[in-house]
């Protein structure tokens, strides 16, 4: 009983399980897949995944606040489009950045308004804005061929190298750290959690839940915009459908990292680990020469197993740290996971 609870406390530490799984996978691939540990390839795929890491930060805010944002992928693509467009018009790179981020913020605002003010279901709203953003990009690429800007400083936004890492990786790192702080250490972050745990009790304890949610969606949109800028600067070209489906990877990663779709549970770095898990899995399978057709199946199974383990651990840890008997099992049975 005693050491059991020690063990439970140990594995109950946020994200320890997924982290362990991640490490195991890395070991596995470095043995099985040749050239898995080559710095180049690592740097490459991390660099490719940066947009996902960035949107997953904003997504984490939204999910913890009890919402969901399906639009981030499409918004990221559109912002990439807008920023590259203005850069091709010859605007300075910082203007391009601003335009890209503003594009994201605009859609964040759209989501925020429809979900918090018109009170439409988050899933539906963001599904709608997903279509709108994706469509807007199609229209844009229909007008202009976004085949690259002459402005080298725009390319340098993501391309510069510090200590062997590209600037986009550094930016991602900074964003992760900053927003993790905001989420865990700022009043705003705390209110986000409260909102996600329960709109009504949060409201009654004096929290402006609508404002928290609003903020979460703005952050999500803005970060999607920034991610778009980085992607555009990295690819130096944008086409319709770019970054479509990123949102699903991000959501899967977040949940895998233990961010609860019911809201009120999770943290940025856990979500990042989840995303890292998925991207690394993808990379490893690629390097093992596995047919990508199998990826989806493997990924799907990994997600399922991961979530099951995470929940099992959560339950386990829960039942040990308790006083009253019924509440937990009651609670767990009561919890609903629909969006």
């Amino acid at each position: 009983m005693k050491n059991q609870s020690k063990f439970s406390k140990m594995i109950a530490i946020d994200g320890v399980v997924i982290l362990a799984a991640f490490v195991l996978m890395v070991i596995f691939f470095s043995l099985k897949a040749d050239s898995f540990l080559i710095p180049d390839s690592i740097r490459y795929y991390i660099n490719e995944a940066v947009p996902i890491f960035i949107i997953i930060v904003g997504l984490t805010f939204v999910i913890i606040a009890g919402g969901i944002d399906l639009s981030i992928g499409a918004v990221l693509g559109l912002s990439a489009g807008t920023s590259l467009t203005v850069s091709m018009w010859g605007w300075p790179f910082w203007m391009a950045v601003i335009v890209g981020v503003l594009t994201g913020l605009a859609f964040g605002l759209l989501n925020a308004v429809f979900t918090t003010i018109f009170k439409i279901n988050d899933f539906i709203v963001t599904l709608g804005t997903l279509n709108i953003a994706a469509g807007a990009l199609t229209v844009l690429t229909d007008q202009i061929q976004l085949t690259g800007t002459k402005d080298t400083s725009f390319k340098r936004i993501s391309g510069m190298n510090f200590l062997g890492l590209t600037s986009s990786i550094w930016i991602a790192l900074i964003i992760v750290v900053v927003f993790e702080l905001v989420l865990l250490k700022s009043p705003f972050g705390r209110r986000i959690f409260a909102t996600g745990i329960g709109q009504v009790p949060a409201l009654i304890s004096g929290i402006n839940t609508q404002r928290s949610k609003f903020g979460a969606y703005l952050i999500s949109g803005g970060l999607a915009g920034l991610g778009g800028v980085l992607l555009a600067s990295h690819l130096n070209s944008v086409q319709s459908g770019l970054a479509g489906g990123y949102e699903l990877t991000a959501i899967a990663g977040a949940v895998l990292g233990g961010v609860s779709l019911a809201g009120g549970r999770g943290s940025v770095w856990r979500a990042i680990v989840g995303a890292l898990f998925l991207t690394t899995l993808n990379q490893g399978l690629l390097l093992m020469g596995v047919d990508p057709l199998i990826f989806q199946i493997v990924t799907g199974l990994c997600i399922l197993v991961g979530v099951v383990i995470d929940r099992a651990v959560y339950k386990f840890a829960l039942t040990f740290s308790t006083q009253t008997r019924e509440s937990n099992s009651q609670f767990l049975r009561g919890k609903r996971f629909s969006l």
Partner: protein
């Protein structure tokens, strides 16, 4: 889902029922759009176009019906698209392998139900969030069909009969088999939802799982069967679309889950569970198909399609909301 008993349907009551109908708003929008188009586009109101639209909306209708059932139970099924692709593949391939059509279809339906059950089990027994469980299943299904076909479209399963199932050959005038199937299914489902224990318990589970459990409802069983139904309808959709396209590209199901959810929600189903009707699903499917039809007829540049679809989705939900708000106000004022 309180039903009106004899004597209650006074004109005012009826009026309120209509106004408070969850999909009243979108219905109004639809009627407006149709009127406008009729004047704007001579070829719109033609019998041929109507049959086209109806035939085109069949696939989504099947999926939307299934999705509505799942939504009523407070779930969500993202896997319908790939389930449709897989089952279509099963039907096609098995026919090619020389099975009689009926057997092939039976296999397809069974597999559809099977996938649905797996979804249900993952969600109820393992407690995986429905979004994630069905998302994973979506990927798995897609992977399976791609591996199986190696990406090559399935050909050569079409036969005379299959042209009827695809709705390419009509049985009487404009009437095609899929139309009849859709009508029959939605009528049957409506009766089940309104008149059977299962239907009752479905709504109960959706609106309050704990209360339902306390009341002695087997919540898990109900949820699983909801997903099974969704799988079954996905399979039916698969069999149908295989006949409609006369060839099965492995990615045939891509994006259909979204259309299905959109249709169901436009039709008044709620992602929070406990709400939704068959007629709503059909209205939703019609809305989506009509949007595309209008885009093509009016000759709007195809690149605008996504934007319009997105706007229609949000607009429709807003419209429903607005109408119900309005009628509730009217209702209250009427009461006090």
């Amino acid at each position: 889902m309180t039903i009106n008993i004899a004597g209650r349907n006074s004109s005012k009551y009826l009026q309120n029922r209509i106004l408070q109908d969850p999909s009243f708003g979108i219905f109004v929008l639809l009627v407006l759009a149709i009127i406008v188009m009729t004047f704007l586009e001579p070829s719109f109101a033609t019998g041929r176009n109507v049959t086209n639209v109806i035939n085109a909306m069949m696939t989504v209708s099947f999926l939307a019906i299934g999705m509505t059932v799942v939504l009523i139970a407070g779930g969500l099924d993202l896997s319908v698209g790939s389930t449709m692709a897989v089952t279509a593949g099963v039907a096609g391939k098995f026919i090619i392998y020389g099975m009689p059509m009926s057997v092939a279809f039976l296999c397809a339906l069974t597999i559809g139900v099977g996938i649905g059950c797996i979804n249900g089990l993952l969600i109820t027994k393992l407690g995986i969030p429905d979004f994630i469980a069905t998302l994973a299943m979506l990927g798995i299904g897609q992977g399976v069909i791609l591996l199986w076909t190696q990406g090559v479209p399935i050909l050569g399963y079409m036969s005379g009969a299959y042209y009827y199932i695809g709705g390419l050959n009509k049985i009487a005038g404009p009437i095609s088999i899929p139309m009849i199937v859709v009508v029959v299914i939605s009528v049957v489902m409506t009766i089940i939802l309104k008149r059977s224990k299962f239907g009752l318990q479905l709504y109960a589970v959706g609106s309050s799982p704990i209360s339902a459990r306390n009341a002695g409802v087997n919540v898990d069983a109900i949820k699983i069967s909801a997903y099974a139904i969704s799988g079954l309808l996905a399979a039916i959709a698969g069999i149908h679309i295989a006949g409609r396209t006369t060839t099965i590209p492995p990615l045939i199901g891509n994006g259909y889950e979204i259309s299905a959810i959109a249709a169901a929600v436009i039709g008044g189903a709620s992602l929070l569970g406990g709400k939704g009707r068959m007629i709503g699903a059909l209205i939703g499917a019609l809305t989506l198909t009509l949007t595309r039809n209008i885009i093509n007829l009016v000759g709007i540049k195809s690149s605008w399609q996504a934007i319009l679809t997105g706007s229609v989705l949000i607009g429709a939900v807003l419209a429903n909301r607005a109408s119900s708000e309005f009628s509730r106000k009217r209702f209250r004022r009427g009461k006090t």
